[in-house]
């Protein structure tokens, strides 16, 4: 993916850029909002990673608002030291697609970047998702593996659907909490892990090849080949 990173903190910028490049992306880095806006408007990017607060009169929110009024719909991920819920809402209202609070784990950032970058494919109408021999029917809301029907609860269905829509990508625990349960809160403990392992047991029972993999220090990934 071609990613524009607008971040005024040199150290954070270097760290994010290096990490994204190692993950195989092309990264352009702007140090202030004005340069960022110019680059975002004149070149085609697959994703913008913006600091919420930027020097130079154009902050992250202004930048996105300006782009959106120009009809530019490149996905935007905000990075911010402002953790307040109002700030988050402001960022998303302005046209941001996701919001990550500093300090963050790089794995979290990478997972969200890849999820955002692949969004157009998600929007394509699909009635059936398939990973290896696992099949999920969105219309009849049934799950089968190797032709055998698996009994699954509604929430587990949504969990699996989210994982399968991002098959081959890392999905973090907070992403699952936000997207599958639709809450923004600190669960204190590993509640998500419990749900995922329960789902995993149902899917893998009687099969020798696990589908849901735990990615160390990051989250989960559903993937066909080992």
């Amino acid at each position: 993916m071609r990613i524009l990173l607008v971040e005024d903190d040199a150290e954070v910028g270097r760290f994010v850029r290096k990490g994204l490049q190692e993950a195989g992306h092309t990264v352009e880095h702007a140090q202030n909002g004005r340069d960022g806006l110019f680059m975002a408007a004149s070149e085609g990017f697959d994703l913008l990673v913006l600091d919420r607060m930027l020097p130079g009169g154009v902050d992250g929110v202004r930048l996105v608002e300006t782009l959106r009024t120009q009809g530019n719909h490149t996905p935007v991920l905000f990075l911010s030291a402002l953790a307040g819920v109002d700030e988050r809402v402001k960022g998303l209202k302005a046209g941001g697609d996701d919001y990550l609070v500093k300090p963050f784990a790089f794995a979290e950032l990478l997972a969200r970047v890849e999820a955002l970058g692949r969004r157009p494919a998600v929007d394509a109408p699909a009635t059936r998702l398939r990973v290896a021999d696992l099949e999920l029917d969105l219309l009849s809301r049934t799950v089968t593996r190797g032709g055998r029907k698996i009994d699954i609860q509604p929430r587990e269905f949504r969990l699996l659907e989210h994982l399968m829509r991002h098959a081959g990508q890392v999905v973090t625990r907070t992403m699952l909490l936000e997207k599958v349960w639709d809450y923004h809160f600190d669960p204190q403990t590993n509640v998500i892990d419990v749900h995922v392992s329960r789902l995993r047991q149902k899917l893998d029972k009687g099969f020798d090849k696990p589908l849901i993999h735990t990615v160390r220090n990051a989250g989960y990934m559903i993937r066909g080949e080992a």
């Binding site: 307040g84 819920v85 109002d86 809402v89 809450y183 809160f185 600190d186 204190q188 403990t189 419990v194």
Partner: protein
């Protein structure tokens, strides 16, 4: 401060009088009083002068009738004679007559001319000019006689002028008296106000000086000033409480964050100094360091969130919601955890529990309570979550089968970083219930604890929340 500078530019006593609220109140009073006096005077004026006028008019009308009757009987000479007779007995010189023939020549009477015809009205109010005295005012009725002549009958009405002068004089005196009263009243009122406000402003000055402990002394009157003082005191209590809270947080942060920070630092330093330099050991040291730092930032996040909630900044996110759905979500999320711990989660609530609140924060509350319940209950325990609709509130109860909480500890739960001794060995920041308490307070609700009804050595803890349905005004914390 611009205010005090402005005041110093006008230090005169007159300025001080005019700028005082007491003076303005008194001036308002005086104005109202003056207005009332004016209205009263006017009514008096119209009443007395009007009555005189009516009397005069009646007399004139009777005279005119008598004279026109005479004209019908005896003609103009008879009327002229009657006029002469009437004038002959008018020692005060108040009567006015004039009889003119068809040519306008004077036949009898003491007027030189009659006023011009003025519309259809027979009545005229005229100014009388005397050759040997000041002009006076008169009322005059003029009638046309059948032979084309005119008859004017009138009275001089000097009393009205006198009455007017008297009333004017009286009103002037009243105005003066009201003004004097207003000024004296202003002075008295200002003094009274100043004296009553001295307590409050003195306290405020002491607090501005840095000492937060004084409170406004209250008089037994329980009047407006005492109510102002009482609300100032409530405000000061709240401020003091918040200040204590801030102080408590900084102490607690210093205490609770020092350990993970020190641990992370020591681990990294040790890995750096390690002679063997085994890459695997180095890697695990770094990972431990990152975990420690993540914990530090989690605690930070929680502290900031509590501060945010206590500031009420999140009230913007209030919206109508169904607590039953939130309870179901929370039970579903944590039911799996309970199951993993070998515990059973029992639930009971009505189909719908509508209230106004912040969805994410309320779920956070339920999550913290359920997390605690799961953490502190032994395997095999039953955790009960129930909710019921009360008249204008929803009562939520989360009961576990853990060690319970001693009564003195219950009072301290909710202080930041407080952890009962029994909880020292379990993981947690000690912030969970602080956040619960802050969120409940923000929703105008109440939080309290009870025994869950287990055996005496293991009573279990029941946490009870009462959330008002319409998220009323935030009650100040007691």
């Amino acid at each position: 401060m611009p205010h005090s500078r402005l005041r110093r530019q006008h230090p005169g006593p007159v300025w001080r009088l005019f700028s005082s609220a007491g003076f303005r109140f008194a001036a308002l009073f005086a104005a109202v009083f003056l207005l009332a006096a004016l209205a009263f005077g006017s009514v008096l004026w119209w009443g007395t002068a009007g009555a005189l006028e009516r009397q005069t008019d009646a007399a004139i009308r009777a005279d005119v009738h008598a004279l026109t009757d005479r004209w019908r009987d005896g003609g103009a000479p008879s009327v002229a004679e009657a006029i002469e007779e009437r004038l002959a007995v008018d020692a005060e010189g108040q009567t006015l007559y004039l009889l003119q023939d068809a040519d306008g020549a004077r036949q009898a009477g003491n007027l030189a001319e009659l006023p011009r015809r003025d519309g259809n009205s027979a009545w005229h109010s005229v100014t009388l000019s005397h050759e040997d005295g000041p002009p006076g005012e008169g009322r005059l009725m003029v009638v046309e006689l059948p032979d084309g002549g005119r008859l004017g009958v009138g009275r001089e009405v000097g009393e009205k002028q006198q009455l007017r002068d008297l009333l004017t004089e009286g009103l002037a005196w009243a105005t003066g008296a009201a003004l004097v009263c207003a000024i004296i009243g202003a002075w008295l009122m200002r003094r009274a106000l100043e004296r009553r406000l001295a307590a409050a402003s003195g306290t405020a000055a002491q607090i501005a000086g840095g000492d937060l402990s004084p409170r406004v002394p209250l008089s037994p009157h329980d009047d407006e000033f005492d109510r102002l003082g009482a609300s100032m005191n409530t405000m000061l209590d709240r401020i003091a409480q918040l200040m204590d809270g801030v102080r408590g947080v900084s102490d607690a942060i210093a205490h609770d964050l020092r350990h993970p920070i020190a641990r992370a630092r020591n681990g990294l330093e040790e890995a750096l100094l390690d002679e063997a330099n085994d890459p695997a050991a180095l890697r695990s040291a770094i990972e431990r360091g990152i975990t420690d730092l993540d914990n530090v930032s989690r605690v930070f996040q929680a502290v900031l969130r509590i501060a945010e909630v206590e500031h009420g900044a999140r009230r913007a996110a209030f919206a109508p919601l169904d607590l039953a759905l939130l309870l179901a979500d929370a039970a579903e999320l944590y039911g799996a955890s309970a199951e993993a711990h070998g515990q059973v989660l029992e639930t009971e609530w009505p189909e719908s529990l509508p209230l106004v609140g912040d969805r994410d924060l309320l779920l956070q509350v339920l999550a913290n309570l359920l997390d605690n319940a799961v953490k502190f209950s032994p395997p095999g325990a039953v955790i009960r979550v129930s909710a019921a609709q009360e008249e204008d509130a929803v009562l939520v109860r989360v009961a576990d089968q853990g060690p319970g909480l001693s009564v003195p500890d219950r009072a301290r739960v909710g202080e930041r970083f407080f952890r009962a001794d029994a909880a020292r060995t379990t993981p947690g920041s000690g912030l969970g219930l602080s956040l619960v308490r802050a969120v409940v307070q923000m929703h105008g609700g109440a939080l309290w604890f009870a025994d869950a009804g287990g055996p005496p050595d293991h009573p279990g803890l029941a946490v009870l929340l009462r959330l008002p349905v319409s998220a009323g005004t935030e009650k100040p914390a007691a």
